[in-house]
């Protein structure tokens, strides 16, 4: 019996969501009175792997073959499920990242496991094992009982705190993989904006809507985001009009996010938009229409013209940063 976490890396580096997932795994392992193992695929340094012990891992299986430099859902799922079998894992945890979304369903099939995708808090473990996830695109939560012996759970980013417990993990090299038939899907090119904060992982998000009147007015949104260290987002009409890329669209048919701060400028707050952002911890709405429905779902609001309010916020942020650095 054990808990197994897949620690996803991006170009050999771990992101915060991995530490969240291992902390989450440690808490589940404690509830089940068992150990936590981690499996890593691709090129991560032994120092970084051993450091995962800090979050509660006792053992790290390192499948560090050059062949696994690029993401491959079939091969990776095979490695993870082999690791789950050798570790005798009854709970397998995977980040609900874009890669995780392609992996976790495959791992569940391989292990004949039940699968809850997008968990948002620790499972309730008693006579039954119940996982809480989002449902109806942020409009509801589902409590799913996982009934099989082996369970796969994917955890949403920003849903669990990183907890350092101290310790170093034992790193074990594994070469369990042979399936060359899994390399049909080939990565040709990776295009990544390195200077921007990725929206699904972001703790702070500044978002703009139609109230900004045109793409040429996004400079102030970006400036505010830069000052905050926030990611930028937008509403559906904005991405539909190609003012901003689809990858920035948050809402029912875009990305669902749960940052600590969601600051919405010029977004009225249609039910579809609220669905994607309602699990944000703090919501700020800036809109010139006092009747905008978004104010009812906000923690703080400013009724005013974005073109007057945002420059004042930028000023205040600059002062704030100067005072707190």
């Amino acid at each position: 019996m054990s808990v197994l976490v897949y620690a996803e890396n991006t170009g050999g580096q771990f992101k915060k969501s991995v530490y969240e997932l291992i902390s989450y795994g440690k808490a589940i392992a404690d509830l089940l009175k068992t150990n936590l193992s981690v499996v890593s695929i691709g090129n991560v340094s032994d120092v970084d792997l051993a450091a995962l012990g800090k979050y509660g891992a006792t053992k790290v299986l390192n499948c560090g073959n050059e062949k696994f430099k690029d993401f491959n859902s079939q091969a990776f799922a095979s490695i993870i499920s082999n690791a789950a079998t050798t570790e005798n894992a009854d709970v397998v945890l995977i980040s609900n990242s874009f890669a995780g979304k392609g992996l976790a369903p495959r791992v569940a099939i391989k292990l004949k496991a039940s699968f809850a995708s997008g968990a948002i808090e620790l499972p309730e473990i008693g006579e039954s094992f119940i996982v809480k996830t989002g449902a109806y695109s942020g409009k509801a939560f589902a409590h799913i009982e996982l009934k099989s012996d082996v369970k796969v759970i994917s955890l949403n980013p920003n849903s669990y705190k990183v907890i350092e417990t101290g310790g170093t993990a034992e790193v074990v090299k594994v070469e369990s993989y042979t399936g060359d038939e899994h390399f049909k899907c080939v990565v040709k090119e990776i295009v990544r904006a390195t200077d921007k904060i990725s929206l699904p992982d972001a703790e702070l998000v500044v978002s703009g809507g139609r109230g900004l009147k045109g793409p040429e007015n996004w400079g102030m949104i970006e400036e505010m985001a830069n000052l905050l260290g926030a990611a930028t987002a937008c509403s559906k009409p904005v991405s539909d009009a190609d003012w901003r890329p689809h990858s920035e669209h948050v809402g029912q048919t875009g990305i669902a996010i749960s940052p600590n701060l969601y600051l919405a400028v010029g977004i009225s707050g249609a039910i579809q938009h609220l669905a994607g952002v309602s699990s944000s911890k703090c919501i700020v709405v800036i809109n010139k229409d006092a009747e905008a429905p978004f104010f009812k779902a906000a923690d703080y609001g400013i009724v005013g013209d974005a073109f007057e309010v945002v420059p004042k916020l930028i000023e205040a942020l600059k002062k704030f940063k100067a005072a707190h650095n």
């Binding site: 799922a77 369903p105 495959r106 009982e145 049909k184």
Partner: protein
């Protein structure tokens, strides 16, 4: 020049399967009945899952002007037939309904994989997730059950011969992958614009084939015990636009988010 798969007469005969879910309209206010264990469908308008509409639109673009076919498949009871007919009105060639309630992702994926095994599609498209369960499980599960490659969140899809080039969504960018037939892809925004059925489509949809198949048996691995809805937030704290800067202080000292 397109070099798509052709038949003996030189006509392109690509065969695509598109999976569609029957989901509450995006404007629906969600409520539950029977001790919060069941979705309250009373008075709710159902639609084709928006991501599935994107998948359908792209499939139709790919077969346009060819002898290719687009089959839509839905796992659902008879109440989903108007949604399936709408997909036929938009332009799908024919349809299959697997006659069973879509219990969970594994159940749905198993039904679709069972049909796909019989029918030899060149590739399978679905939406990246349904807007009701949001699991995003079905595309990769179908692929795993069939032992074929997949891209769960595909922003762009083009075909050359029997190979697709797909933009896979990644954090902060995209990964361009090459993937041979057969494969499964989950459509995301940007792949195509949803199509609206025209009058001719609506008329012809009535007579297009809609085959009903019985479900295969699937082990019950999980069950939704209950639902709840987010707690309403407290009263909004309004800040005067003249003192907008005050907000920054509140976010720091009161909300503690910066």
């Amino acid at each position: 020049m397109r070099t798509l798969k052709k038949n003996k007469r030189g006509k392109i005969t690509m065969k695509i399967l598109v999976c569609i879910s029957h989901v509450p309209d995006t404007t629906t206010k969600i409520s539950f009945i029977e001790n919060n264990s069941k979705f309250n469908a009373a008075g709710v308008q159902f639609i084709i899952n928006p991501y599935d509409e994107i998948a359908l639109a792209r499939a139709l673009e790919l077969i346009e002007g060819t002898e290719g076919t687009v089959t839509v498949i839905n796992v659902g009871d008879i109440s989903t037939e108007p949604t399936i007919r709408k997909a036929l009105a938009i332009g799908a060639t024919d349809a299959i309904r697997v006659n069973a309630a879509p219990r969970d992702g594994y159940f749905v994926a198993t039904q679709i994989a069972a049909i796909a095994k019989e029918m030899n599609f060149d590739f399978i498209l679905a939406g990246r997730e349904s807007i009701d369960y949001n699991g995003g499980q079905v595309p990769a599960m179908i692929a795993e059950l069939l032992g074929i490659p997949s891209v769960s969140i595909a922003k762009k899809l083009t075909i050359e011969g029997t190979t697709a080039t797909i933009d896979r969504e990644i954090e902060g960018g995209k990964e361009i992958v090459s993937i041979p037939f057969p494969f499964v892809a989950g459509a995301s925004e940007g792949m195509a614009e949803p199509k609206i059925p025209n009058m001719r489509g609506i008329m012809s949809a009535r007579t297009k084939p809609l085959v009903v198949k019985e479900a295969v048996a699937v082990d019950l691995l999980q069950e939704i015990k209950s639902y709840d809805t987010p707690k309403p937030r407290g009263q909004v704290k309004l800040i005067s636009p003249d003192n907008a800067g005050e907000l920054i202080e509140l976010l720091h000292s009161e909300a503690k988010v910066i």
